[in-house]
Subunit: 320 residues, 6 copies
């Protein structure tokens, strides 16, 4: 890849996450523990831990929760020099509600958050130019009209300036309806150089269930690289020239499924930045994704490069 100051730049809302101290309806929970949440900062932190130069930015409230997010992400070695402070709006929050038998509920307090006021004028376009790869998720255009415009502008600018555009659809139906989401996400899929759809998302977007068909259709739309996530099964990878199915991990002791997709994207990009072949990229992707789920929290389980290699080497670890 071209030599640039930054390996990957990404942006999007990070929030303070409040985790209940035990399972069950929040009404009966007495104490909550503060943590960090945010798909794009998860990717950024994952990449920083894998020794890449990464930048992340967002608009944060000029409040203690915003300062917490800044300190946390900068502490992980991510460049946060382009973070913008909004003196009028607050930093977004989210509460998790955990159950033994179903997936966690999420309560968002992010409507009208600082990040949802992100607008094209907030962007330092020169900074974007400096990146080899721009990574964006489908959460950001769901935040607000201005956030959607910002995504469009930044993506177009990046592509015009030779920055590789990596896109994870990350469709969140709590933030917008299927009808609103579909055209926006499809438009971004078309522009993407690297695409990280989940198989369910692919079905929703394309109406196609068969992995090979999905990949073919996405290639026809635009992306040269498609990394299709198949859940525990693993992933299907294609770069027009070659295609691979890479087996996933059966994680018997999963602590927290959140962050797996972000880890997958980061693992894949790390492979690419290290000039690994497609299959190896997929192994990195599966590995980082699985490791993210082994520790509670979005980022706490993300591996260093050494830890990733050890893990990939010893698949039996997760089968205890």
């Amino acid at each position: 890849m071209v030599d640039k100051k930054m390996d990957v730049i990404t942006f999007g809302e990070s929030m303070v996450l409040f985790n209940p101290d035990s399972k069950g309806p929040l009404r009966y929970i007495h104490t909550f523990t503060k943590a960090l949440s945010g798909a794009e900062s998860n990717v950024a932190i994952a990449l920083a831990r894998l020794e890449h130069k990464v930048g992340w930015f967002s608009k944060l409230g000029d409040d203690e929760f915003g300062r917490y997010i800044e300190c946390f992400i900068r502490g992980e070695g991510v460049d946060i020099s382009r973070v913008i402070k909004d003196e009028e709006r607050s930093t977004g929050l989210l509460f998790k509600e955990r159950f033994a038998h179903v997936n966690p509920n999420v309560y968002y307090y992010r409507r009208n958050s600082a990040a949802s006021y992100l607008s094209p004028e907030d962007i330092d376009y020169e900074y974007i130019k400096n990146a080899k790869i721009l990574h964006v998720t489908g959460i950001t255009p769901a935040l607000s009209e201005s956030a959607r415009e910002t995504v469009t502008r930044v993506v177009d600018f990046a592509k015009e300036n030779g920055v590789i555009f990596s896109f994870d659809p990350n469709i969140r139906l709590k933030l917008w309806s299927k009808e609103e989401a579909k055209p926006v996400i499809l438009d971004l899929c078309k522009k993407a150089d690297i695409l990280f759809p989940g198989i369910d998302e692919a079905e929703m977007l394309l109406g196609i269930e068969d992995p090979r068909e999905v990949i073919k259709t996405f290639h026809e739309m635009g992306p040269d690289i498609v990394a299709l996530k198949l859940g525990k099964e693993g992933c299907m990878l294609s770069n027009r020239k070659e295609q691979h199915f890479v087996n996933g991990y059966t994680v018997k002791t999963m602590e927290d499924s959140v962050g797996a997709g972000d880890g997958f994207a980061a693992g894949f990009l790390s492979g690419m930045l290290r000039n690994k072949n497609l299959k190896e990229c997929g192994e990195y992707a599966n590995g980082v994704g699985a490791m993210a789920t082994l520790v509670k929290g979005d980022v706490e389980g993300l591996p260093t490069y050494d830890q990733l290699l050890t893990f990939i080497d010893k698949k039996e670890y997760v089968d205890r």
Copy 2:
């Protein structure tokens, strides 16, 4: 007083309060404990504990935080039969940030909360009719345009139907500007039968500092009873016929100043409902207000009637 089903009805936003587990900037706080906050529900709970029949209502999110608020307030013996659930908006939250040397900061997550969508159509006017006293605070009209209208409509309806209107200005400059607040609050002061201004509020509203002048001016505006809060000094009471200064408590071991004003109003109203004379009403007001500050939390320190009498009797308790 006339014989009615309910002694006091009040309404206004209650929120889930998150208390940090230690002092200092929230950025460094790991865990938070859930509690209840809300000026009007504080008054309602205080009155229920003093053995009166009280109703409180608000609009709550149809979520676990809303259910927590319902259970808590109903658990205290307050009638919550008129609470409205909003399926689209969330229950409001607030975070406290405590310091050893300055008053706590408050971070609100209540913009566009369910309660701020309270509107005149939400009200069961027959229910209001059933009350001897309607108690309102100046926080509710600060929440939104529709909340303001609701207050006007309910207050006017109550007055037309012979319900005594009790008003606590409770000016919160975090919610609206002095300029916005002043005319709205003054208008409600004029309509009030019983008024609970703080001396600072009086100065802001009237530009008058002298307690006797303040009381005189408020009487001229409308209220027959003015209970002017003078902080630790105590209070000055007037019912046009008689006027009393009642000494306050020097609480050396104050744990939490929040809720003192609400306790004051509840104590006073309890005295009135028990047909105590003006001075005794002031003693109840000072007593409940002081006791509210002796325990952390808005309502945890509120006394039963027996505890109040014991406390009033043994002023030395708080002077240890």
Copy 3:
């Protein structure tokens, strides 16, 4: 069913439960968390959550633990207007000791508790008349001589006044011996209109193991409806006219087995109150019982009616 003010009235001892913060012998446990425990209040809360009008009462100590129980149960929407306060005796307590490999130990501090002094004179018989169903468990007659007499008197009064008598044997050998328990429990079984025996209890009481035989024998004794609990297998239901076996749930992620039987009874009674057929009543019973075990605590996992229907619909939930 006849139209009455209350759907179900129940009574019996509720206690403050202290849960250890980790597993293992209590001697090594540093902190304990306060919660609520009590078979009858579990049933009452379950029914209130399922939208029925329920009353519960007991004798509580005039102390903070008694007030906690009052606030909790009233907060859940149960009528507690007939609770009696005992100024001389304390509210009962219990401590749990949890292990990974065996069922929890229970340490009772309820001997001579306020509830064990419940006596026939404490009862507001007019209140009992107001109920469609009176629900009693076999724990109450085990508390004391006077509690036993109270049960007899209340049950007889209810039956004379056309109140349906629902009985859950709930034999606790920590409270009395098999010899003491058997005649008392059998006598109540005979009087019952609806009976909720467990298969083990049936064997102890009748010396019969075969479910069909058990049901036949109980019908001959008196009860028109027998809902026999078969553990994970499910339940066998009979109303003299029809008989059904309803499959249970395999809850792989059980958090707390306590409260399952109470949820079963509440689910069944809810079905009856909604005029569901026998089989549906059994499905409700199995559903509420299973859901009670999915969250730690006796009542924290009890569903609303909507949640129950969703759960019954998606049996796979519990099979994750």
Copy 4:
């Protein structure tokens, strides 16, 4: 003093103490921390820490709470070889309720506890013989008839066998009435060789307020040594030959007043066992008593001999 195996033997009920994690009514407290409480074990632990050979015993429930008490007290270096286990009754408990402005409330769960079944046949009289000093408090005879008899029998046996009898009246009106307590306590005062009354207790027992008169009257009754506790003022000591007033400590940072009297008795006895003069014994008594209040918990603040000497030497410590 005569050479014997044990310096001091004492006996009486020790309980598991549950401390609320914050101040205020217990109803609102979520978590409690386990600790040890018991006047006689406090004295025993204080003496063990001051390097004396001490034995303590009681009757404990054969349960985890009893085992906790055993391990704790034995861990402190006290001989517990004569502890008796009761397989039928439970170990007693107590809950504290703390307030900022008044002394803590105490909720006992000790009625019918194992310790209240202590009876004369439980005693190993040979063991008593081995002690230089037998220390008893006025709590034990308040527990039950059989406990009272046990105290009488043990005290009489000790006196007949040349064991010095040290008595702390420790009148607890939560356990018995003034009328019940007075003759029993006075009888033990008469038998005592060393007496540790508080000035309020003296007034209750003798109807005398003047310290010098109190001491004179007690000497006439029997005790050769009277150590009269005057609260923060300090203490007045007399051994018929000499009389001293020893100044107390102004502890500005008192954490927990419980255990001060037990520390006082232990400090005094330690001085005697080290053959210090009367005034020094009083300084030790004041010192240990004050130090006990500097750390939360009954025994956590009790000093080693070195720490005591340092503390006595630097009175300014407590005046910060």
Copy 5:
């Protein structure tokens, strides 16, 4: 066995263990809970709980952590009269880092700890003479040169004085290299009367994998009794005359594997002290070892003799 004052004496470093309050990298852990750790004190406590007379000693820092260790171990009924205090060095510490998918990491802070300065002059040899059995582990010689010498001297002294020498190799490669460890451990194996090797250790020491060969080889070296641990499979026992394989337990709910080996040794020695036959000794060994893993912490799950017998009797317990 010969009648002696003590059944077993053991010595070796005990440390304060800090347990993270949740799983994952320590960097993200906020709070840690204090506990006790130490192979030899585990054995001592296990034996004390099984009603044997046991002594344990080590060199501890003259600090609060040392005092914690003393109180804990003495509290369990172990004689600690020979513990030595080092005024210059600190008590050793260790931190655990727990993961869902791999065994815990351990961070030692024991280099130059007080215990590592244990030297032959510190020993009360008369005390050693008093024991029927001396139990030593291979951890102690790994601590330092002087600790190694101490082991040699004590072991030789014990053997000369008719004390049975029980040895658990307990090879910890975090403390020394395979090369350093092997000759020292082998030398102690040769001297041992009773030997508790794990099958992995046996392979490392002897280069032999077959259990029967391992046992034969060890017998040839010296030990009359070899109890070879085969993990979950169970153990192979031999006393030259007879040989038994004893099935292990499948513990589905293992909480903490640490302490299993110590429990095994203690169970075996308890059987011997009770004159049980070889097979029964193995059943006790397997039982205590399995029970140690059912509760978090090294010693919290160790059984009383009654609990052990119940457990052995009901193997199904652990198969829930």
Copy 6:
């Protein structure tokens, strides 16, 4: 000042601090909370928060505690690019033991820590050149012989390269004796351009008590600027030309005195870097020092520049 890349560079050991969850002897403390400690990183963080460009480095263990320190300090915006990892030694730790009546005890686990192996070869001398000011404390030369040499080499190099040398003696007698410390510290005082002695340290080093004499003597030794700390009284400042006494703050609600001296140095240097006059520098120094004590923890209370100016303006804050 000359224009350079960095405003201040500092180096020295940072440790993980374990804070007990309550006061009293550590033996009785159950849980500890992790935090950061280190005089030089305190200064660096204080300066970063005051908007200066700061670098800090040390040698850390290649372990989770080292990674925690890195993340924390980098998160605060301090450049940590020159931190060195030691694969063989551990990161140092310290435990605090807090009392109500005396200053906290400190238990160090830093002997042979990674930082104590800091040596002259570890230094990037070009990096030092880039700083306007080099700040060093007297703790670093106390760590080890090689650390002492490193200090000498770095200080000499800095002075030769026109970097201002700022020195805080920070004499810790737990780390070395007065005899060892004195010549080393005095030598560094002589080399210092800016010196931050405490009045007690001055007395120890010079044998002089009078502040004016102290300042005169230090000036004669070398430093052009002497900022003499006088505790609560405030400070005495001198730059050969002018001399000022600046009043301190009476902090009635001090939470944690640790970090006050580091805040003082940072405040003073911040004033200098902003070209404030000597008196203003003193006001900043007093202000940051006082604010550091208002929140528990070394760095949690350190102000932003805005917060500092507000605080200085409203001295009454701290006198509540």
